[in-house]
């Protein structure tokens, strides 16, 4: 069968002054009808640029295809006039994006946005178009299509929005669908549904799919063939079985090795000394102003747990589950509404800000976004010694400790005089860990510390956190939405949903035999789990 999409030796030039000459260099990819080809790579690998080049949507004047061929059903896209490209978009090729909230126009009804495709490309009358929109909404599994058509994007959930996007892309049955990280912004339980939907529709319509992702779990779920990219070049290509089970290239092998396994490591016993006890912790917010009916939102309800020194407790849950709020209450960045927080035997949940100060040093927190966690205007040295100096340590001593800790977390101590922007994301996260450790805390809170990092960097930072725990006998509260990460670092996990703890126990036990129905759904939704267990 002749391919729907042929990319041959494509090169896209970066503007002068970038860190490399080409965003994409000599890239070749084929997509056959009814086939899902995954383009996998870390950030900066050029996978999204490749997709945009196919759609003809590269930013004007900044990225220019300089060489190669892109053919859609035999038609040369790079040499097609703008008018022809426009006619092909939406009809022969369509795209689904990462973040459905921003990819949909916020001020137009969803139905209108789908209808626009029909109005632009077909001569159908109003009633026929409405019929098609309804039918398409039905196909993507949205109940009450009429109501959905009239609703605005902000009124829908993330999963519903992505279904709208898919409906919009497929309404004219294009031969090629490009999906650019379509499930990355979604919760896992939603992700699994969207992947299933894409698979089903794609099979039903015989659509060729170019699927871009950084997640090997997702690759295992959806791909027929895989193309691995790195720094703008294709590293390796093959069937999904070949790439996942028998990667040839060293980079692919390293990448796959870095993917945390879903099979939990055995729990380690901590030193037994209890560092933190949380009892009936609750946090509620009031929404709306003084004229509204006051709506109270319970972000956390009745959470109780404890952590011992040398132990990693995972708080696992999807967005809005209250896991971050719990952590922020313990760090007293927010004031809990009710409940007790005992840190090293002292009650800190109800202390005033002033009385809290001496206790601050015992709880330190590492945040998700390494780019915003360090003051961009201050040298690393200043950020590191700030804490100890608050507690009366002299500058010289603090600097000495800062250098030691930088070495410990794997950052060259010589670079202590640099500014944060001179470091990569992974290095910054290491610096943030050093900044937390310099306070010699008893409890380290890590709030999604590896979620913003590429998988290879993620593995290194996880490794570092594990060393920290062992060497310093720290209690660690580890917050994550990613079950793979949780499996590799947590001794025990607490599963949260809508502010409530639904299940807790040793990680291995919870993952192997979840008792709560939500936990079961969550574990079942982890992408690529069959692939893991095939390896076990």
């Amino acid at each position: 069968m002749s391919p729907v999409l042929t990319i041959e030796q494509l090169s896209v030039r970066l503007p002068a002054g970038a860190d490399r000459t080409y965003a994409v260099e000599n890239v070749s990819v084929d997509v056959a009808p009814g086939e899902v080809v995954c383009l996998v790579g870390e950030s900066g690998s050029g996978k999204s640029v490749t997709a945009q080049a196919v759609m003809g949507l590269l930013p004007r004047g900044q990225l220019q295809p300089t060489d190669g061929l892109i053919k859609l059903k035999g038609e040369d896209l790079l040499r097609a006039p703008a008018r022809r490209l426009r006619a092909l978009r939406g009809t022969a090729m369509a795209m689904v994006y990462q973040e459905p909230m921003t990819a949909l126009n916020p001020v137009l009804p969803c139905g209108y946005q789908i209808d626009e495709v029909l109005r632009t490309h077909t001569g159908l009358g109003t009633d026929d178009r409405a019929e098609r929109v309804r039918d398409m909404l039905d196909q993507v599994g949205l109940a009450e299509p009429e109501r959905m058509a009239e609703s605005y994007p902000h009124e829908l959930s993330g999963g519903q929005r992505q279904r709208i996007m898919i409906a919009m892309a497929l309404v004219l049955e294009p031969a090629l669908l490009i999906a650019d990280e379509p499930t990355t912004a979604l919760d896992v339980t939603t992700q699994v549904q969207i992947l299933a939907l894409l698979r089903e529709l794609q099979a039903a319509h015989g659509t060729g799919v170019l699927f871009i992702t950084h997640d090997f779990g997702v690759v295992a779920e959806i791909a027929d063939r895989v193309v691995v990219m790195r720094a703008g070049r294709v590293v390796e290509a093959g069937t999904v079985r070949d790439i996942l089970d028998r990667p040839q290239h060293a980079y692919t092998q390293a990448l796959i090795r870095a993917v945390p396994s879903l099979i939990p490591r055995p729990a380690r016993a901590g030193s037994g000394r209890t560092v933190l006890e949380v009892a009936s912790l609750a946090k509620s917010y009031r929404q709306g102003g003084w004229l509204d009916r006051r709506r109270v939102v319970d972000a956390v309800k009745d959470a109780s747990f404890e952590i011992a020194a040398g132990e990693v407790l995972g708080l696992v849950g999807e967005s809005g589950s209250g896991k971050s709020t719990t952590a922020r209450c313990i760090a007293r960045l927010e004031d809990p509404s009710a409940g007790r927080i005992r840190l090293r035997g002292a009650e800190i949940g109800s202390l005033s800000r002033r009385a809290l100060r001496p206790h601050r040093r015992h709880v330190q927190i590492v945040f998700q976004d390494p780019y915003r966690s360090l003051n961009p205007r201050r040298r690393v040295a200043a950020s590191l010694i700030e804490g100890p100096m608050n507690f009366g340590v002299s500058r010289a001593v603090a600097l000495e400790r800062a250098r030691e800790l930088l070495a410990f977390v794997g950052v060259d101590p010589v670079s202590i005089e640099r500014y944060p922007h001179q470091f990569s994301g992974g290095q910054r996260q290491r610096i943030c860990i050093a900044r937390a450790l310099i306070m010699e805390p008893a409890l380290l809170i890590a709030d999604e510390p590896v979620s913003a990092l590429d998988v290879s960097v993620q593995a290194q930072v996880l490794e570092l956190l594990d060393q920290v725990r062992t060497r310093l006998d720290l209690a660690v509260l580890f917050i994550t939405h990613d079950l793979r990460v949780a499996a590799q670092i947590c001794d025990r996990v607490l599963v949260m949903r809508r502010g409530e703890v639904v299940e807790s126990g040793p990680t291995a036990a919870v993952f192997a035999a979840p008792e709560d129905s939500y936990t079961r759904t969550l574990v079942a939704a982890a992408p690529g789990r069959n692939w893991d267990f095939a390896h076990a």
Partner: protein, 305 residues
């Protein structure tokens, strides 16, 4: 999947380190250059013309630009001069008056800017950090902003009587709320940044958090907003003087010169055109500096300022 580009290129900058980056921008260089020239003209006016700006000569009224006459100097001597900009209806030399007028415009611009930025910064920090005071302060600022600034200045000057400092204060008051709002919004957004939360968790006292982590973020936007305040102050002073309620008429200011030129404007437009051009060019220069600095410091500020 976060791009490193989220860091503004000047993120690490402190006030002093901003200077070379600012000077690299062509608008800043052109605007700044024009301002320097005008400031020098005002400063060295006595060297550029021997004529006293308030020297009257009934025999040389309404001379056209380029006319020559003999004038008495302050030291009792006389001199032959060319009236480059002509003379006004009282026979005063417009070139001298326009040069001396630059002093007032720039002084008002500078003084108002300093007062407004200092006051606005202080109130804005208080409103942004102390939530208890926020509501009250911001309602007051909303109220102050509800009175169109020229009207407010007019009313204040009408009550307090004309005078240099009255005008400066009257022009400054309506400008304060905008700076307060700007500072407050920056404080609120920076307060939520993880690095500030990390400082809280490290036990850094509140005053140190303010000066170390929050205040530096306000510098760049304040410099930009400051130039806009300056331009607006020069404009409003000129308007007040032009309407006859600003700086007392015996002091030559561009607004005063134009007010005096109004009656005979149809016949002798030069009495309005010369000070008008100087005024427009000065404001243009300040605005160009503001725009240039905004673009150089942070293109994302475009919508907020």
């Amino acid at each position: 999947m976060k791009a490193e580009a989220t860091q503004a290129p000047f993120a690490e900058a402190t006030a002093l380190r901003l200077v070379p980056a600012l000077l690299a921008d062509p608008s800043v260089r052109i605007g700044g250059g024009i301002l320097v020239v005008i400031a020098l003209l005002g400063l060295f006016a006595p060297l550029l013309t021997p004529v006293d700006p308030s020297y009257l000569d009934p025999t040389t009224r309404n001379e056209l630009p380029g006319a020559a006459s003999t004038v008495d100097l302050a030291d009792g001597k006389t001199a032959d001069v060319t009236h480059w900009f002509g003379t006004d209806q009282l026979g005063r030399d417009l070139f001298a008056r326009v040069l001396y007028g630059a002093r007032i415009s720039l002084l008002v611009g500078l003084a108002v800017t300093l007062i407004v930025v200092a006051t606005g910064l202080f109130i804005g920090l208080v409103a942004g950090y102390f939530r208890a005071l926020d509501g009250l302060i911001m309602r007051m600022m909303d109220g102050l902003m509800a009175i169109p600034s020229i009207l407010l200045a007019l009313a204040l000057v009408a009550l307090w009587g004309a005078g240099l400092w009255t005008v400066i204060i009257a022009v400054a008051i309506p400008e304060v709320p905008r700076v307060v709002r700007l500072v407050r919004s920056i404080v609120l957004s920076v307060r939520g940044e993880p690095y500030v939360e990390a400082a809280v968790a490290m036990g850094t006292p509140t005053p140190l958090i303010m000066t170390r982590h929050i205040l530096p973020s306000t510098i760049a936007p304040l410099i930009v907003q400051g130039t806009y305040v300056c331009a607006s102050a020069i404009l409003v002073e000129a308007i007040l003087s032009f309407l006859g309620v600003g700086i007392p008429t015996d002091i030559p200011t561009w607004g005063n010169i134009m007010a005096e030129g109004r009656l005979l404007f149809r016949v002798y437009p030069h009495a309005i055109l010369f000070p008008g051009v100087f005024l427009a060019v000065t404001i243009l220069a300040v605005n160009m500096m503001g725009d240039g600095m905004r673009d150089a410091l942070d293109p994302k500020l475009q919508r907020r300022l």
